[in-house]
């Protein structure tokens, strides 16, 4: 099934949880100073392990960047 992470398409074989997707990207529960939204809603860090990812989900992984 197809999902997107930060605007890039990703294909995953079977339904899984958010933390598995993040793990493939080198992110885990201890990665500091980032936050996640799925389909326009925040997913709190404490829920990464229990959030199912389904086809079409749009995941955003954000952090602090330059800004005025």
């Amino acid at each position: 099934m197809e999902i997107s992470v930060n605007g890039k398409k990703m294909f995953i074989g079977s339904p899984c949880c958010l933390d598995a997707i993040l793990g493939n990207l080198g992110i885990n529960n201890l990665t500091p100073s980032i936050a996640i939204a799925i389909n326009g809603r925040i997913v709190f860090r404490r829920n990464w392990g229990q959030t199912p990812i389904v086809s079409g989900d749009q995941i955003e992984v954000i952090h602090a960047a330059q800004g005025g």
């Binding site: 992470v5 930060n6 605007g7 990207l25 080198g26 100073s33 980032i34 936050a35 996640i36 939204a37 326009g40 809603r41 925040i42 709190f44 860090r45 955003e60 992984v61 954000i62 952090h63 602090a64 960047a65 330059q66 800004g67 005025g68």
Partner: protein, 265 residues
């Protein structure tokens, strides 16, 4: 003036100059500008993490959070929904409830969308955020933002990045006259005198980014802005003389010599 601190939502700062973190020539220049400006508050945006190069867009490596207070913004948001989500993400990522709330109309003017701004501000305040809204220099709007519980108002001096200074000083003074929360001028600063003018008009602080970051010598400009901010604040508190349309001699008439006219030869 030792205790003339800027207090926002109960938190006191010694510097009244706030700095943005974008568009500096390099990270060394940015860090030096933070130091030379004397700032204590630094704004950041929230953007996508690059998985190819996670440090390429990150800014936290350049900001000592022990020394500088982070103020995340919602730059680039067009709707209340986007701005609320961005504020929530900032809180989660940076562990702060403070948010510089920006909701813009379009990319050309970057003007604030007052309707969406009010909606977002109200919701975020309900969620416990400390909201500092970037807004039009509109005294009525600023009063509404205060009434719904914003911690400060941040009216624009002129368009973001324009360097045109304070285009509507009367409005700025009117906003300040009615506000019981801090008024921080955000956007439009071009050079040091703009900051002094803002502070002389009664601003409690000024936020600057491009005018320092894009100056020929950013570190020097940062230092100039530090002094301009202090000078403007001192002048405001000292109380300027009223403007009059006729001359007033500063040297006394009393005791002036009486000299009989005679020819120079």
């Amino acid at each position: 003036m030792k205790h003339d601190q800027l207090t926002i939502a109960g938190k006191a700062f010694n510097s009244r100059l706030l700095l943005g973190s974008a568009r500096y020539p390099n990270s060394k220049a940015f860090k030096e500008c933070l130091e030379f400006s004397g700032t204590e508050i630094v704004t950041v945006s929230l953007r996508r993490l690059s998985f190819e190069n996670p440090l390429s867009t990150g800014i936290l490596k350049d900001i000592d959070r022990e020394k500088y207070f982070l103020l995340p913004n919602t730059a680039g948001c067009y709707t209340a929904h986007e701005a609320i989500l961005t504020a929530q993400l900032a809180k989660e990522a940076l562990e702060t409830e403070w948010i510089k709330l920006e909701v813009i109309v379009d990319d050309d003017t970057l003007m604030p969308n007052s309707n969406e701004l009010l909606l977002a501000a109200e919701e975020l305040i309900n969620q416990g955020f400390v909201v500092l809204p970037y807004c039009l220099d509109d005294p009525v709007l600023c009063q509404r933002l205060e009434n719904i519980g914003c911690a400060a108002v941040m009216p624009l001096g002129s368009l973001i990045g324009s360097g045109m200074g304070i285009l509507n000083p009367d409005n700025i003074q009117t906003i300040k006259a009615h506000a019981s929360i801090p008024m921080i001028i955000d956007a439009g600063i071009g050079t040091a005198s703009d900051i002094s003018i803002a502070m002389e008009l009664g601003a409690d602080g000024v936020l600057v980014n491009t005018a320092i970051a894009q100056a020929n010598f950013p570190q020097q400009m940062a230092e100039a802005f530090k002094h301009a901010c202090i000078a403007g604040r001192l002048a405001h508190r000292a109380g300027r003389i009223p403007k009059v349309s006729s001359a007033r001699a500063s040297s006394p008439q009393k005791g002036k010599m009486e000299i009989t006219s005679c020819s120079l030869g």
